[in-house]
Amino acid sequence: MRFWNILWGEMRRYWRPFTLIVVAALLLMWNVLFGSSSFAERKGTDPAIAYDLSVEYSERFGETIDPNERAEVEADYEKALAALNDQYEKYMGQYDIHSEDDCHLLYSAADAARNKDYESEDYRKGAERWDADNLEELAETCNQIFWDKISYEIAHRKQMLESILRWAEHVDEWEQFVASLPTIDRSSLEERTKEWEIANEYSPSSEKRLTQVMQANSGRLSLLECVYDAGESFQGHFQFWGALIFILCGLIVLPLPVGNRVSGVTAMQYSTRTGRRVIFAQSGGAILNTLLVNAAVDGWFTAIFFLRAKNTLHLWNCPMNLCSYPRILWLDLTFGQFVWLSYGKVLLLSLALTGILFVLSHLSKNYLPALALAVPSVILFIKLSYEMDYMLNIDLYAWFIYPLTLLVSAVVAMAAVMIFVNRTRKADYAD
């Protein structure tokens, strides 16, 4: 009971008013800067529409589409395109607008009317063609037609379907490439990998893995194909918001031990009955805060993920290995597993960073050296997390690099904390 009281006391001190204000300001700043890059953020943004489309497709076709379904999608695309053109015709025809050039002319004429520039060429042409008194209103209507939700979604649907079909054209070529892998020489392979914009050569084990994935899924495409934008937004989320988690860990963990030392509170604490065991409550508080920050930053994201689509099961089960982007992973992960793995990675790295910062802050005699040590540590972890997003790709890293990186981070942090705690319990405390 006493430990929990002390832990609560430490938690309260981590969250001092200044820290709360800075955390709130950073969350707001991140939301403004990077919010729109996440599908979960705002209804109606590109990633949000792409995500809704992906749910629709995955529920219609399952996790992958085979060549027959692909033909269905193609027909769907033709229909959607025709519907799109019909809509344009329907709306625009009423106003004698038949092309993009017509639209541009209308906008320029409306601008000139707004600025009372009645002598301009644009105004003259626009006024001749449309009702001169209603140019601004007409331009606004045209603008709405172009950008209203319906046409916007249709435009997206078109983009997504085009993406699937474009990728489908490449599948045969890919398969040929994979089939030729064992027979072609290395120099030729190098040329081909460059052609596919792959940074490194394939190793024998990655060749094997590539062949295995392509042969096992001959002709099929992942429905993640439709969520290219949504997939990108997930990656964006983990990179941008993951970086925020690391920054917040530093911001919350660092000030308390340094402040305690500078103000002389540490000496007071160490001379009490609890003595240096207060370190356990402080480290427990730091870990709890990291869990809290992870839950707060990623929790709403997951919640919205579930709330936005009533049935996300198919989407969760879409295989990651059959996306249009040549992204073949060492593991057979579904989209859902990939999302949880990414959560886990950020959580584990943030815990490791917390441990390291906890030690560094206790070793620093004032704020300057603490910052000088903490800032590079946070940057290092942000870069490491970013790089780890690509560590599962077979063409960039060996299969063991990802788990090894996680293991090394965890072991280094745990060792640092254990050595520090052990040393603190025995050593002299000189302020």
Binding site: N260, S263, A267, M268, Q269, S271, T274
Partner: protein, 243 residues
Amino acid sequence: MLEIKNVSKSFKDFTVLRDVNLTFDRGVYGLLSPNGAGKTTLIKMIVTLLHPDSGEILWNGENIASLDGSYRELVGYLPQKFGYYRDDSPTQFLTYMAALNGVDAAVAKERCQKLLERVGLGDVTHKKMKKFSGGMIQRVGIANALMNDPQIVIFDEPTAGLDPMERVRFRHILAELGKTKIVILSTHIVSDIENIADQVVMIKDHEVYACDTIEAILKAHIADNLETAFMNIYGGEALEDAI
């Protein structure tokens, strides 16, 4: 009974204390010497912030290092630099420190109110300490040292920042505490201990130079007051310190 047996302490090559032997029983002990003589180092060893290089410190015959928390809960400590949280009120800070000392929350609440009244801060118990003067902070420190109802109370330069009225009030508290507890008062201000210390401990050349009653020290150094005796013992060292 607190016994310090053959304790020595060095920092790198510099010896701060050499072969210190002292015994403290109930009463007020004045630890008197010029700055830098090793008073704070001795105190920090008594409160276990520092560990002796050699020798041992015993509480009722047991080494304080092995007693660990059960020894520290008997110690009340006001360091030279009293550390506190600026955004806390005295009540918040004292109850937090009481929790670290293992004092029951209800007992701590009651004791906190009484002690703050005793040090003259009864009307500002919920005010943030960042608005306090140096003297008020020092009084919070005194209250904090007494929160766990300690058997050993250690004050390191406690009168810094206190005005004359507060000093008088503090002396009364010390005299009362000395009836039942070991009170160690470290200072380089002679007048702080002249009227209240039962015994005076003097450190010179890193060793205990004297540990005796004020009368005995005055007699040994043919002085009519402690300040003269102090000057006789430390001479140039104390003068240099004063200058």
